[in-house]
Symmetry: C2
Subunit: 271 residues, 2 copies
């Protein structure tokens, strides 16, 4: 999910324009310094999944960056119009440091949702104590570099480690491992973006009676995992079956991952 | 130096337009993910200072990010036109992940150049091993947050520490300390942007017979410094006279700083 697709519409500060006309002034801090925020939601059958949680995260990030948030009803109208135009796929809300906002939708190959994926450990280290930790910022260049590195090495995703060598997350997803039926994922303090589907997995685990630990996540725990999976709003729960070319567990989607994926999908569809 | 100034021109892919017309497509990776680069140069009497070094750094960064660089003669023409329009101040070259490039100039209050400044230690930690270390990336949100934090605390600049607590640089400048006539600044491997004026200071020190150490720079070394200064292309060598409200050395521009500033200014003006 990179940008708007040719032939669709973009709602610019609530006004609909063609994608080809959707521009942003060079002077906006989004362009000059990557100052701004975004959210990307899944859209299914004309419904946005977890919209309130995405809007809440957007508001929290905007408050931290000192960016004004547009009126809720204007955003509501734009997101509903965009979802009506693109009822299957994704919807993105982009808020700039200059106070401009853009809403647009796009499609996704449905086989991408929930499919088995591979990852590599990234050679870099992220900081758990940076000023933008926990914010879905437009200064997304490090994630972009990580995805490029993963693609270069033939993998779908790249896994980050923080300054202590602890696993944190993937470039555009959170990471879970399963060992003997127990779930483990990095705590927020380790330097992650607290994903909406990550929170849904923790809810689902609780409902299913699974033990879930949020804390430190070490590379050997991933190597020794029975199962692992990635979570993201648009692609949902994806079994992580290979890391650095080696199988995770049996190298296929595991039973705990499948149960959680099914339960998360139910939770997200509840109105 | 944030963005283009009202009433001036912007050269968009080499074509001149009014600032108000200078826009960038929403789909460009610069907007979607802060993927791109920039350089900001000083302009004095219609001359760009250290242009070859800035272009070399831009090329190096573009190669690392896989972004195509525009033809040298087109960039030459645009920068010369922008400098003719704004012969005193600064010039910015902005290169987007979509391969678009923008050149524009702006003014600066001349008393800002070389003036005494204050700083605060930032509460965050940067990573010395991130994928964008050493690149002047459009994903500049962390620097922006640091400058905002400094302003909130009544200071001109914010000083970063890396994951080991070592001082690295300011948000938009490099940092030097002077103790008993010896210079010290963070090595590149500690996670800095290797500034053009930083390299000029190291040259000037060598020419003046001053010992300069690039390596680890610790907070107590700053607290115990006789002098400290910040370096940046547009603002030059600025004495750092207060940190967290306490005087550095005598709390005024020191003799080593003044000698270096004068010599750096000469070096940068040589043709």
């Amino acid at each position: 999910v990179n940008g708007p697709e040719p032939g669709r519409s973009v709602w610019v500060d609530g006004r609909r324009v063609a994608v080809a006309e959707a521009r942003i002034p060079l002077a906006d801090p989004a362009v000059q310094s990557g100052t701004g925020l975004f959210e990307t939601l899944a859209v299914e059958g004309g419904r946005m999944l977890d919209l309130p949680r995405h809007l809440e995260r957007l508001r929290r990030g905007a408050a931290r960056l000192g960016i004004p948030v547009p009126a809720g009803d204007a955003v509501d109208r734009a997101t509903r119009s965009a979802t009506a135009e693109t009822p299957e796929g994704w919807l993105k809300i982009l808020l700039t440091g200059g106070g401009r906002w853009y809403v647009f939708g796009g499609t996704i190959d449905p086989t991408e949702i929930g499919r088995e994926v591979s990852a590599v450990l990234l050679p870099w280290r992220c900081s758990s104590r940076g000023p933008l930790v926990g914010i879905k910022s437009l200064s997304y260049g490090a994630s972009r570099a990580g995805l490029d590195e993963a693609a270069r090495r033939g993998a779908d995703e790249g896994l980050w480690r923080n300054e202590r060598g602890l696993l944190t997350e993937a470039c555009a997803a959170n990471l879970f491992v399963v060992r003997r039926g127990r779930l483990r994922t990095a705590a927020e303090r380790e330097g992650i973006l607290p994903g909406i589907v990550r929170s849904r997995v923790l809810e689902a685990a609780s409902g299913l009676g699974l033990v879930a630990h949020t804390g430190k996540l070490r590379v050997p725990q991933l190597r020794a995992a029975d199962e692992a999976f990635l979570t993201s709003s648009v692609r949902g729960v994806r079994p992580l079956v290979r890391v650095d070319g080696r199988s995770v567990g049996q190298g296929v989607a595991g039973p705990v991952t499948r149960r959680l994926a099914a339960r998360v999908a139910e939770l997200r569809r509840e109105v």
